[in-house]
């Protein structure tokens, strides 16, 4: 019984510390989420900037009737 006392206190102490750290992790989780969305939006912007026109060209070259590569490059 006596041994359990300090165990209980330790558990409480741990819980208490966990509680405060969980609130800080939840706030930092929000920060992490914001940082992650900013990072992914930046990457999406770069991907769109470089890849949008090639995407249209790829989609267009696959449509029926399939145009020839020569038609894509020639000026006539």
């Amino acid at each position: 019984m006596a041994a359990k006392g300090p165990l209980k206190l330790k558990a409480k102490g741990r819980k208490g510390s966990k509680g405060s750290s969980s609130s800080s992790t939840s706030s930092s989780k929000y920060e992490l989420f914001k940082d992650w969305t900013n990072w992914s939006l930046k990457k999406a912007k770069v991907a769109t900037h470089y890849g949008f026109i090639p995407l249209i060209i790829v989609v267009g070259m696959k449509s029926d009737p399939k145009p020839h590569l020569f038609q894509l490059l020639s000026p006539v």
Binding site: T48, F52, I53, I56, V59, G60, S63, Q71, L72, V76
Partner: protein
Amino acid sequence: MADIFPPLVTSQIDAKPKVDEKVDYSNLPCPVPYEELHREASMSLKADNFEGLRFDFGKGLNQKFSLTHSVMMGPTEVPSQSPDTTIKIPTAHYEFGANYFDPKLMLSGKVMTDGRLNARLKADFTDKLILKANAQLTGEPHMSHSVFNFDYMGKDYRAQLQLGNSALIGATYIQSVTPRLSLGGEVFWAGVPRKSGLGYAARYETDQMVASAQVASTGLVAMNYVQKISEKVSLATDFMYNYFSRDVVASVGYDYILRQSRVRGKIDFNGVTSALLEERLSMGLNFLLSAEVDHKKKDYKFGLGLLVG
């Protein structure tokens, strides 16, 4: 031009006068989208006048896929301190574009020599739900804009949700109240200049005329009226007023659609006169002449263009 004014088919075929016709309130037509409220007036009054030379060459590879090459040489305006003088810097650029048009998906992209990309996407998820996205991307940080619109088309209403890149959220709703009158509203919230706004709009149309009005909490009041005189001629007038900054602009314009050409012109009460002529020289060859004369600022702009394909 015929598809602009929705034909009231029943009243035109019947010999009975329109007064006798009962309005079927459960069967109203779908209204125009909220952003196209002033569509007919914009065609005459907000024609795209340009300055300099413009040469567009479009090559279709396919029914759905086409490439465009555009060369533009002319002065571009730079904002200056005093409102009386305009600073113009001559520029020349080449723009390459690719377009893909499918009934369910439309992709359009244009890239300039300085790396600016102008991208548009329109996807029909279902019959009624459409996604539209529009983006201008540049290499410089914080100078890119993108807007995503989700449109839902109901039986006699349309609703739209708009999301923009710097925390911009907006929603619009427009509803047909009678076969000729539609009313709508919008609300938006912009994160960067922290402001929100509310607006209302109304549009009344018949076969011969369209009248629309819009009020917004940003201080804008816009009213316009378009009268279709005949199949070839229509006249438009527009009045815009900002009740915070007390700016008033009124303009009157015309739109002549002839067999081989289309002339649009307007005169403004700020002293700006402009006209745009598009002439079809032969199949696939269009010639453009644009002129804009601003008497108050003594700014004269003339443009010449050729569109091939």
